[in-house]
Amino acid sequence: MNIKIIDSWLREYLETPAKQDIIAKKLSLTSVSVDRTEKIGNETIYDIEVTTNRPDLMSIRGIAQEASAVLPVEGITAKYIGKTAPLVTQPDISFPIEIVNDPELVNRIMAVIMEVEIGPSPKEISNRLELSGIRNLNNVIDVTNYVMREIGHPCHVFDYDLLNTKKMIIRKSKEGEELTTLDGKKYRLAGGDIVADNGRGEIIDLLGIMGTANSVVQDNTKRILFFLDNNNPKLIRQTSMNLGIRTEAAIINEKGIDPELMEEAFRRGVELYKQIAKGKVVTKTLDIYPNKSKTHNIKVDLEKINSLIGVEIPVKKSEEILTSLGFEVKKTGNSLDVKVPTIRASEVLIPEDIIEEIARVYGYHKLPSIVPGFNSNKTIAYENEFFFEERIKNALKYWGFTEANTYSLISEDMFDGPIDSAVKLKNPLTNDMEYMRNSLIPGLLKVIEENKSRDSVRIFELSNVYHKRTNDLPEEKMMLSGAIKRTGVSFYEIKGVIEQLLTDLGIQNYKFKEKGEPGADIFIGSDRLGYIEILNANLIDFELSFEIILKHATLKKIYKPIAKFPPLFEDITFVLGEGIKTEDVTEEIKLQSFLIREVSLKDQYENAKTFHIIYQAEDRNLTNIEIVEIREGIIKAISEKFEASVK
């Protein structure tokens, strides 16, 4: 969460000779990140990112206190000079509204009735609000915003006469209740929101988030109810996100702030009403405070401080730093006993939190950078899944494929199979990202579709798909998928890519088998590796299981002594019947002699297939006479088995 802090305003709480750029730099290194400093006229504005654990820094007061602690460590004098506004006078008129609080909803309420004169704020205040990014409206409303920015506790103001009630019940909203916020927008509540009810069932405030139109300060407001509430942060977050109302008050309140801070804000508010709206306190102050802020002590081992930071920090330095941040420190034996200020009590809980305070203010930039020595009890094989992943991707790249990276989230129509079997999101961002994919193919086809100006596309992806399991996380399986689009693309082109890929991965015993639809099923041994799918004359895709690839992939090579005697080659052409598989023929040829080293399809014209046969013996030169015998055997076998004739 970002906050704009005005330099001149800050200096009302901080006394330091440090220039703006120094303050910005030092704060960034040791406390909060000053994203930007901007000069407008005579003013410098710090744009500060406050982390969600430090809502106490969402104010001039908070930043001034931090700066007064961190600047001196860098050798710059700095002193916190904020003063709490005077006590609020208590006239002899009791507070006229009976407020029924629910301690589970609200930690503390402070309220008072004041007479005011409404009008524009003085220039100084309206300027500061504007430079802080806050809209200024009139003096009565401006005070609430001014106090929130200065002290850090949100406040609210009602038109007391418009409110016109003797009773205010703080309760949870019921589902379906409606209200109109002060900016005129209508909302229907989901239930469980913290609201104030005037005892007649009418909602008069959406606590901690925004006021309602029926009680808002008017141009002619005479009497106000100045009202501060400190609420249950979880409920505030829920309501604010549900309704989409992200006011600064809501953003601060949902983080939770110390109710102790309320008093300072309350007094400052009353003081400002007196100063700029001729405000006059007309009733006693109401203070309902069921959930007092608590604090605690933390014991920190001195040795632990040094070992976690990595260098030795002098004990005195640690004590100084903590004290300047508002902690109370006592050294006992080998440890520090640290009392946490209430404003930090919700987030400083363990010794490491204290060590963080010491280390950051000491300065992370003063610590050395040392790569820790190698020390591991785990040895990782070189050829692991990541090795093969990279090898496969590179192979495909050098064969002209481009890698796509599609979302794992898909629409219903991109799911392959009955949608009931899909892993479904409960809260999808959009309809086209409602399910987890179970195949990469639909995504790749979409990519091809979206690049339709290209006549020729070769793409692939190696990524997870997800399969639903009962009572367990889905099964995540890496798939290697690809597609080629080109006029007249051949099945053999994709098949060749897969064959070559498997060969490069040391896999030999693969088989392509016919499947019901155009394409092929692919097996390694008895494991189904995946498939090739011919979608049309110009589009073919494939999907392979990376898991099965990994199971068989190896870099191991088997060395066979290089043949001493040269091979002999021969081509035989058979005219084969329809439907006779090349592989069946080559297998049959191989069976004819152990001197046949290799058989491959060399050429094909209609039904005539030419086989290239390599003969080789390990121990001698083969003679033509031997070859003639084998050749005759081959011709006989093939002719008989497949009713083929030699051409």
């Binding site: 960034s28 290194l29 930007r36 982390t51 430090r54 977050r237 996100m241 949902e254 070992s307 976690l308 930071i309 990595g310 363990i350 490491e352 963080e356 280390a359 992370y364 930039h365 610590l367 950078s369 040392i370 790569v371 820790p372 190698f374 020390n375 591991s376 009890n377 990279e390 790249k397 050098y398 002209g400 481009t402 890698e403 796509a404 990276n405 599609t406 979302y407 794992s408 989230l409 892993v423 479904k424 999101l425 409960k426 809260n427 999808p428 961002l429 959009t430 990202m433 987890m436 979206e450 290209r454 070769r458 793409i459 990524s463 997870n464 997800y466 009572n471 040269p566 030169n621 003679t623």
Partner: protein, 344 residues
């Protein structure tokens, strides 16, 4: 005799195939077919053999002679054209070459492999853990309190299924930090993990994509310290972005680390002086911190004995920072437009 003839043939053929030199071919011809050549010598023995076999051997000898002559003729022709072409044909060196195919790896993949090799050099081993996770691994064990904003429906994707009694709701992990718990459950310190994975968050705008990638380091050892973390971050910064770049850590807040840091890298454009592209000379890179003792405990590691550090950054972010890519809409990275991918 037959064997000798076959040997002569094979010998001659392999020599002929091996050469591209016309002079050498001439010599081979002499060696086999010349007056004192090997084949000529063998043929001279013909009359001495058994008459019953003489005819058959004679045919074979002639076959061998023809084969060798043909091979020499073919080769002579081949070498001639080879030489003429090389010597005489004009080439236009500005014509396009005949290129082997070349595709492109996705820039994210390229970044991941760079990141992996850098961390590998200092002993970090890459792992892979579930993308669809239980609340426990993504939030609970990482010390996120109940009701933390990240755990609500606005920020994290949840799976439409029954929650686990033990691990809570099922979700798409919004960060690679879930891998910290998985890693520590499965391994004893010392641990040096690098977890790179897809992560998911419920937002999509010019600077966010609902699916993105993170890389997470986890180091757990006795007395692991902030100076160790700084060492590793600095090593990565210099190795990935360049030796003249520096890193720094600033206070920040995360639920699962204590202390927590925001890591900056000095701006490569202005070299740390401050310019339009950076914040006062620095660019934000991502988060890091010392592993929160509750996280160690939740993963079964004794926080009184061990400490650790972790960092988790966006792959997209470091990629854009390194390449100085000025992509005005991050979603372009996942558009799968070939016009984009082919630039990498």
């Amino acid at each position: 005799m037959e064997d000798e003839l076959i040997r002569i043939k094979n010998n001659a053929i392999s020599m002929i195939l091996d050469t591209n030199d016309p002079k050498e071919l001439e010599e081979i011809k002499l060696q086999f077919l010349g007056r004192n050549g090997k084949l000529t010598a063998a043929m001279k023995k013909l009359p001495k053999i058994n008459p019953s076999m003489r005819k058959e051997v004679g045919i074979l000898a002639n076959e061998v002679k023809e084969t060798i002559e043909d091979a020499i003729k073919d080769k002579t022709h081949e070498t001639k054209t080879l030489h003429t072409k090389a010597n005489t044909k004009k080439i236009d060196v500005t014509n396009p070459g005949i290129k082997p195919p070349l595709g492109h790896l996705h820039p994210i993949t390229q970044a991941i492999s760079e990141i992996s090799s850098i961390f590998e050099r200092i002993g970090f081993t890459r792992v892979r853990y579930p993308e669809v996770e239980w609340d426990w691994y993504s939030f609970g064990a990482l010390n996120f309190p109940e009701g933390h904003p990240a755990r609500d429906d606005w920020e994290t994707f949840f799976i439409d299924t029954k929650p686990s009694a033990k691990y809570g709701p099922m979700l798409l992990t919004p960060h690679t930090s879930s891998g910290q718990i998985r890693e520590m459950e499965n391994n004893k310190p010392p641990i040096r993990m690098l977890n790179i994975a897809k992560t998911f968050r419920r937002q999509s705008d010019v600077s966010h994509t609902p699916v993105f990638h993170q890389f997470e380091t986890l180091f757990v050892a006795e007395k692991a310290s902030i100076t160790d973390l700084k060492g590793v971050l600095d090593y990565f910064t210099k190795a990935y972005f360049g030796h003249d770049r520096e890193s720094r850590i600033r206070p920040y807040h995360f639920e699962f680390t204590e202390p927590s840091f925001e890591v900056d890298v000095s701006c490569g454009i202005c070299k740390g002086k401050g310019c339009k592209l950076c914040k006062e000379g620095w660019l934000e890179m991502g988060g890091a911190g010392m592993v929160h003792p509750n996280v160690l405990k939740n993963a079964g590691i004794d926080p009184t004995k061990y400490s650790g550090f972790a960092s988790g950054w966006g792959v997209e972010r470091v990629l854009m920072m390194k390449e100085g890519l000025e992509i005005d809409d991050l979603r372009l990275l996942y558009s799968n437009k070939l016009d984009f991918l082919e630039q990498f």
